[in-house]
Amino acid sequence: MSASTNSVAWVRTRSEPALPPPLFSRGAIAWARAHLFSSLVSSLLTILMLVLALWLIPPLIEWATVKAIWSAPDGALCRTHQDGACWAFIAHKFNYLRYGSYPVAERWRVDLTEISGAVLIGWLLWPGAPRRDIGAGLFFLVFPIVAFILLSGWESLGLPHVDTLLWGGVFVTLVTALVGIVFSLPLGVMLALGRRSHLPIVRLASVIFIEFVRGVPFITVLFMANNMLPLFLPAGWEPDRFARPLVGIALFSAAYMAEEVRGGLQSLSRGQYEGAMALGLHYRNMMRLVVLPQALVLVIPGIVNNFIGLFKDTTLVAIVGVNDFLATMDNATKDTIWSGPTIQPTGYAFAALFYFVFCYAMSRYSANMERRLGRGRRR
């Protein structure tokens, strides 16, 4: 055949059959050879990593399981077994870690809030769920009011008032993160649109806000929210000491969100705007129906990255006196009944696990969303 293609004219007489790939291009051995042992350096690195993993991981698992103390009435047993975690401490403090100093008789209100919140979030995040518009309405409009009444109390409904001073633990972290997430995205979108507005005043205001907030540390924003917010409000209008850092976290996160969203807006081609305008869509509908759905999908990784950052930054509200989960854990480790060398490592390991589970779940969900929403875009 090759001889004949050297001549000027050549015509195919029979089709080339489709053949299976060569044997060594697939399978586990081929994969390992290609990816783990492709060169001397790569082989050395592979072996080094294996050794490192074998050296680090088994002792950690041993510490957390075999050698750990799973139940004990107080810290005495843990003090004698210092080579293992003291999970008994976590079990004993579990309710304190969840609710902080929230009155025991009223804790069902926290449970109810958490369960209804979880159901609504599940409803919203599950792509195939029916009537997600109702879910969204309940979550964004009804749930905040109900949650506020439940958590903070309403005397005339027979729910005694529980001061935010008593709030603490996991549910404070969840409330903080949720308020931050729910407010920062719409605020961020508005700021991003404002920054690209044709109206100079709107643009200037957005730029000043974004650049100012991005230019100061989060702790500064928290201090400002704590000390300066009351100055902007009418006299005698004392904002709650838990509400202040919530405002701070939402505003701080919004500035970062705005920059993410702006990146998405800028990456859309002008043709999308022109296509929408030529059809007669107004600015609001063009943004809502054509531009934002695409821009936001493009920046899902960045948005979720911000959410994850925000979730971890909630630990900083402890500085302005809010007992979030980490602060509660810190308090718990100071209990003299349990004091011992393994208490703090155990407590912080558990806290790390808690934050990791939430952050990793967000990360996985976003990867999933990207795949699902990216389907139509593939060319």
């Binding site: 022109e274 059809l279 139509g376």
Partner: protein, 247 residues
Amino acid sequence: MADGVNAIEFVGVHKWYGAFHVLRNINLEVRLGERIVVCGPSGSGKSTLIRCVNRLEEHQRGTIRVEGVELTADLKRIDEVRREVGMVFQQFNLFPHLTIIENCTLAPIWVRKMPRREAENVAMEFLARVKIPEQAHKYPGQLSGGQQQRVAIARALCMSPKIMLFDEPTSSLDPEMVKEVLDTMTSLAEDGMTMIVVTHEMGFARQIADRVVFMDQGEIVEINAPEQFFGAPKHERTKAFLSQILR
């Protein structure tokens, strides 16, 4: 619109991009039902010209009237004009996050306030007309370029426009897909749609144009019926242009 009103009128229109004078004293009247083909070398201002009709570009001097409505900075008038003027772009500009049928029903639902069911029926009608009703529930990215451009035409038609603008609709298509798009446009022309088409497809111009407008360096150089335009061009620049593109 009353009879005798021109579909589109340009009276002494000028436009600048910064200091660059891109449209120079444009005077053109397009009658209802007329098919105009605009051609000329790249950078001659032909795209800018038709983009002024639905104010994707703003002109700085002169008057443009569309169906008797003068285009000014008044947003209400711009909306009024855009509702009546459909546009097809070189890059299709379909919305990739929406299915074909959603692309077609978006504007009827949100601009014309048409009930969804009715908008879908209208959309299916036009998708059948451009011969791709079976693609209605796919996404633009799953279609070939020619199919996407036909969807773009159907999407514009769903707004039942009185005027259609085509901005080099076949320029980014593979050669084997040009014909299906031109066929669609030809059938539209045969139905009496008022059309302004910017194109390099001279065969198409010869076949459907009532008049051919030749632009160069921001000005209209020659306007003529296709037989005269291609058979006996008057202006030197027209002759030079035609000798370059017709071999």
